[in-house]
Structure formats: structure tokens, C-alpha cells
């Protein structure tokens, strides 16, 4: 197969860490336009660090090409405007702001866009529960609803790439299913997604391709079907 287009996100030889302690070692990874990719790995493997590095929150060497631009060395506050939305680990809402304020702030980097009201309505249609709680302080919502706020906020950007860091963590199975339905719907609109999930079975069921990260190194990659069939993955991450 000949791949004619360059990937949307193309990471090559990435090293990153905190204050001299290296967490990511020579990581190479790509996400195509509109592709749904997952990174699986144990706790402290460096999954969150990988997403944070893409967002410019962690010092890095190597190359992160996104949509024709180099991200390494770019300050984090300039990354969203390029079309990367990040839903960080943990439920990161602005607790004392209303649901509406939270959602609208997602468009902070593109605040001069003329279609903000349309974007907002699209998100509230996607998450009808948020529409009911529009003027409620986000901190008073349930865990699942707060995660919807964080995701809705990220989608306000209409990103080319959506980074999701354990969005299902600590949520009821019914909510988790709902969220993943939403991710698939978002993916169908052409938004590329890079998903991290503790629940590997779930991650491989929605993503089309995946990477396995172990102690900061990519040790394996393949389609979701290949990874699900891989013996090492089955024993280490799928508990089979």
C-alpha cells in the first residue's frame, strides 16, 4: 500500500522528561488524518507524558511534526490554535465557572471565530445533559458530567487532533459506553484522535490502530486486531 499523504501527527526520535529525568526514550509514532489511534501501557509507562509533550507542557528533544509544523520548542499556549485539543488526565474543569463558561473557554485560542454559537450548540446537542445544566457551576456536576464538560470544551476548538488522557477513569460503565460512542461519532466527522485508556480492551475496540508503551519506549505497534491477537498484549494488558 502506498501512503500518499503525510500523517497529521508525525513523531520521530522523541525524548522527553522532567528536570533531567528522562521519561520518554526515542519514541516514534504517527496519527493519520482522521485516524483513531490508541497508546496502551501500564501505569507510569509515560502515556500522559507523551500527550503532555505533544501539547508543549514537557521539555523535549526530537521531532513532533503536526500538520506541516514543528511542535518541539513551541510554547504550550500556542499549540491549541494549531488544532490540537487536549483533555488532560483527571477531570479538569474550571469548578467555579458555569458549564457554559467552561465550554466557551474551549474556544479561547480561536476566540475571534465567527461561528462560536454554532459550535456551542453542536456540543450541547452531543451532550444534552450539559444543556440542562448550562448555568450550574461545573464543580457541582457528577464525575461523568464533568468529563463531558472537559470533552465538550476540547471540541469547541474543532480540533484536527483530539488528545484524550484516560477519559473513562473512575466512571460508571454506562457513562463510559456513552463517552466512547461519542468518540466514535467525533472520529467519523474526520477528527483524528489519540486515546489513552487504562481499559485496554475498550481502547482497542474503538481505535483502529495502537502502540504499546513500556517504560517510555514504544515496544509494539499494529492494528487493533493485530494487537488484540498478540500473545504478549493479551497476557500483559488484556488479562487473557
Amino acid at each position: 500500500m502506498i501512503i500518499s499523504t503525510t500523517p497529521l501527527l508525525d513523531i520521530k526520535g522523541l525524548n522527553a522528561g522532567y528536570g533531567g529525568v528522562r521519561v520518554l526514550h526515542d519514541v516514534s509514532l504517527s496519527v493519520g488524518q482522521g485516524e483513531f489511534v490508541t497508546v496502551i501501557g501500564a501505569n507510569t509507562a509515560g502515556k500522559s507524558t507523551l500527550l503532555r509533550t505533544i501539547s508543549g507542557l514537557v521539555e523535549a528533544q526530537g521531532s513532533i511534526r503536526f500538520d506541516g509544523q514543528e511542535l518541539v520548542g513551541r510554547p504550550s499556549h500556542l499549540v491549541p490554535a494549531l488544532g490540537i485539543a487536549h483533555v488532560p488526565e483527571g477531570r479538569h474543569v474550571f469548578p467555579e465557572m458555569t458549564v457554559e463558561e467552561n465550554v466557551m473557554l474551549g474556544a479561547y485560542a480561536v476566540r475571534s471565530a465567527s461561528d462560536l454559537a454554532t459550535r456551542r450548540d453542536r456540543i450541547l446537542t452531543m451532550f444534552p445533559r450539559l444543556r440542562e445544566r448550562l448555568h450550574q457551576a461545573a464543580g457541582t456536576l457528577s464525575g461523568g458530567e464533568q468529563q463531558m464538560v472537559a470533552i465538550g470544551r476540547a471540541l469547541m476548538l474543532e480540533p484536527k487532533l483530539l488528545l484524550l488522557d484516560e477519559p473513562s477513569h473512575g466512571l460508571a460503565p454506562k457513562i463510559v459506553d456513552e463517552l466512547h460512542e461519542t468518540f466514535l461519532a467525533v472520529s467519523r466527522t474526520g477528527t483524528a484522535i489519540l486515546l489513552i485508556e487504562q481499559n485496554t480492551t475498550l481502547a482497542l475496540s474503538v481505535a483502529s490502530r495502537g502502540y504499546v508503551l513500556e517504560a517510555g519506549r514504544i515496544v509494539l505497534s499494529g492494528t487493533s486486531a493485530e494487537l488484540t491477537g498478540n500473545d504478549a498484549v493479551r497476557s500483559a494488558y488484556l488479562g487473557l
Binding site: H77, P88, H92, F94, Y108, A150, L157
Partner: protein
């Protein structure tokens, strides 16, 4: 962005009327009005601190650095060049803002107590410099503001009521700046940072620049108030204007006791803390040195433990209480 409600306008009108009436109740040369002036000055100082601590949640314990810079800048310019303290105050604000900018560069990425400790150290460094650079500051013996013919231009007055008006003006100006910032786009960014810095960063807020900007404004205002303090006291030394307890912690305490992040908090706090401090000094000082400070410290800790949101939380609390009673 909400406008002031009519009850808020009425409250402000009542406050202004009371503020104008108060000095006429006191002996114009007496002790009472001096305490009043100090309370107003500290209200303005705590309000300046509130801009960076209350809005951005960066709890500084080093604001004495800016205060002292302000006091020394205008006083030295007056002594050596005969410059009017009004221009001295502008120079003070510039230097205070510059100092705030420089200290922000290495500290703004620090959070919580790391930031507090770093700023505390900065204040202490300034105090040590003030004490050891005697050639410039006069060292530990302190420095006197030269007397001149009392006038508005010279920022010196015979009548304490003039100082009262000056300090009241300072409170009004700094509080207005606080409110304008809080309601501006900068205030919205600061609020996002305060509520969740990580989330603010990933939506594209330049958190470092935003915090530095707030810090510089706060440093400029604090330094200007240092000039007012010098003109009011006529004499000061490094341990007083660069002091941790006398300035840095006091500013923080006043805002916290009154209600951090609110416009009225620092004013309520100052009119609680400063008179109480004076009272404690009078009751205890003669008997046991330091006892008054201990009692005072315990009182403050109690207030903070009982209601971390300060006096400003009492109103809503009462409201809730009554609302429950209605049902």
C-alpha cells in the same frame, strides 16, 4: 460581565458617606486618626496583594520587597534631588514593577508553598541589602524624610485629616484597579488559572505571561504605597519596610482574614487587624514583650481555621441560614 446591583450601589454610597464623616469624629492631631490612616494604608496594600494572590492564587510572602523599594526610592530622590514625592512615587512604581517582573521570571512556574517560600526569600534578600548597603539606604539606623512646608505638592500635611483623605484615595484607587482587572479579560484569564492551571494551559492561556502581568501591576501599586508610607511616617528603617511580619505577612493576613479574592475583603480585614493589633499592643506590651504578637497570631489562626474564606463568607452564610429558616 455583571454590573453592580442597586443594593451594591447603596452600600457603596453609605460607605463613602461614613468615610467622609469619620475624620470629624476624631481629634485631628490625635492617635485615633493615625490608626485610621494606617488601617486605610494597609487596606490598600492588602488590596494590591490581592491582585496577584487573590486573583491568580499566587500567595506571595515577599511583597515587603516592593513596599520597601517604594519607600526608599521616593525618599532618596527627595533627599538627593529634591524631587517631589509625587514624581518619586512614579519612579517607585516603575522600580517596583521592574522588581516584580524580575522576581516573577524564576518564580512564576512555582506553585503553592514553593512560590510562597521563594517570594519570602526575595523579601528577606531585600531587607539584608537595605541593612548592608548603608551608603545608599542609611543602613539599620534608618532614614528620615526631610521636612518641608506642608502642601499637597510636597505630600506633607500638618492636619492628619489630609493624610486620611490621601489614604482613603489610595484605597479607592487600588480597589477600583482590582475590580476593573477582575472584570476584564485579564481577570477572566487569572480566574481560569486560579481554578485550574492545567486546564487553563491546555486551552491556550499563556499562564506565565498572565501571572507576570498581574504581579507587575501588584508590585507597582505596592511600591507606590511604600512612598505614601514614607511620607506619612517621616522615618523608617529596612527592618520595618522590608519586614516579613511588619509588611509581607501582614498584607497577606489582612486579605485572607477579610476575604481573599474579593474587593471588600482587604478593607474589612484591615479595619479588623490593624485596630486589634494596636489594642493588643496596648494591653500586653507593657507586661510581656512579644505576648501581644502571640495572642494576635493565635486570633488570626482561629479566624482562618473557622472560616478560610474570611469575613466575606459570613454574609452568604447568614443568608443561607435565614433561607433555611424560611422553609
Amino acid at each position: 460581565m455583571s454590573r453592580l446591583s442597586s443594593t451594591q450601589w447603596i452600600m457603596i454610597a453609605v460607605l463613602v458617606a461614613v468615610a467622609i464623616a469619620i475624620p470629624f469624629l476624631f481629634d485631628p492631631r490625635g492617635y485615633g486618626i493615625r490608626i485610621l490612616c494606617l488601617a486605610l494604608l494597609f487596606a490598600a496594600m492588602a488590596q494590591s496583594w490581592n491582585i496577584v494572590a487573590g486573583l491568580a492564587n499566587q500567595i506571595s510572602l515577599g511583597h515587603a520587597a516592593f513596599f520597601g523599594i517604594g519607600a526608599y526610592t521616593s525618599t532618596l530622590l527627595l533627599i538627593h534631588f529634591g524631587l517631589t514625592p509625587w514624581l518619586g512615587m512614579i519612579a517607585a512604581a516603575v522600580l517596583g514593577g521592574l522588581a516584580a517582573f524580575l522576581i516573577s521570571l524564576p518564580t512564576m512556574r512555582l506553585r503553592g508553598h514553593y512560590f510562597a517560600l521563594a517570594t519570602l526569600a526575595f523579601g528577606e534578600v531585600m531587607r539584608v541589602i537595605g541593612n548592608s548597603w548603608g551608603g545608599l539606604t542609611g543602613g539599620p539606623v534608618g532614614i528620615s524624610v526631610p521636612f518641608s512646608q506642608p502642601s499637597l505638592m510636597a505630600l506633607q500635611f500638618k492636619d492628619m485629616r489630609a493624610y486620611y483623605a490621601l489614604m482613603l484615595g489610595a484605597v479607592v484607587v487600588v480597589t477600583a484597579i482590582f475590580v476593573v482587572i477582575k472584570r476584564s479579560r485579564l481577570g477572566y484569564r487569572l480566574r481560569a488559572i486560579k481554578e485550574n492551571e492545567d486546564a487553563a494551559e491546555v486551552i491556550g492561556v499563556d499562564t506565565t505571561r498572565t501571572k507576570i502581568l498581574a504581579s507587575v501591576i501588584s508590585g507597582m501599586l505596592t511600591a507606590s504605597l511604600g512612598t505614601l508610607y514614607a511620607q506619612f511616617q517621616f522615618f523608617f528603617d529596612p527592618d520595618t519596610v522590608f519586614g516579613i511580619a511588619s509588611v509581607s505577612i501582614r498584607m497577606a493576613m489582612i486579605a485572607i482574614v477579610g476575604g481573599i479574592g474579593t474587593a471588600a475583603g482587604p478593607i474589612l480585614g484591615a479595619f479588623f487587624v490593624i485596630p486589634l493589633e494596636e489594642l493588643a499592643n496596648q494591653v500586653f506590651s507593657a507586661k510581656a514583650a512579644g505576648l501581644s504578637q502571640l495572642v494576635f497570631g493565635v486570633l488570626l489562626i482561629l479566624v482562618i481555621l473557622i472560616e478560610p474564606k474570611g469575613f466575606m463568607a459570613i454574609g452568604p452564610r447568614l443568608k443561607r441560614l435565614f433561607a433555611r429558616g424560611d422553609r
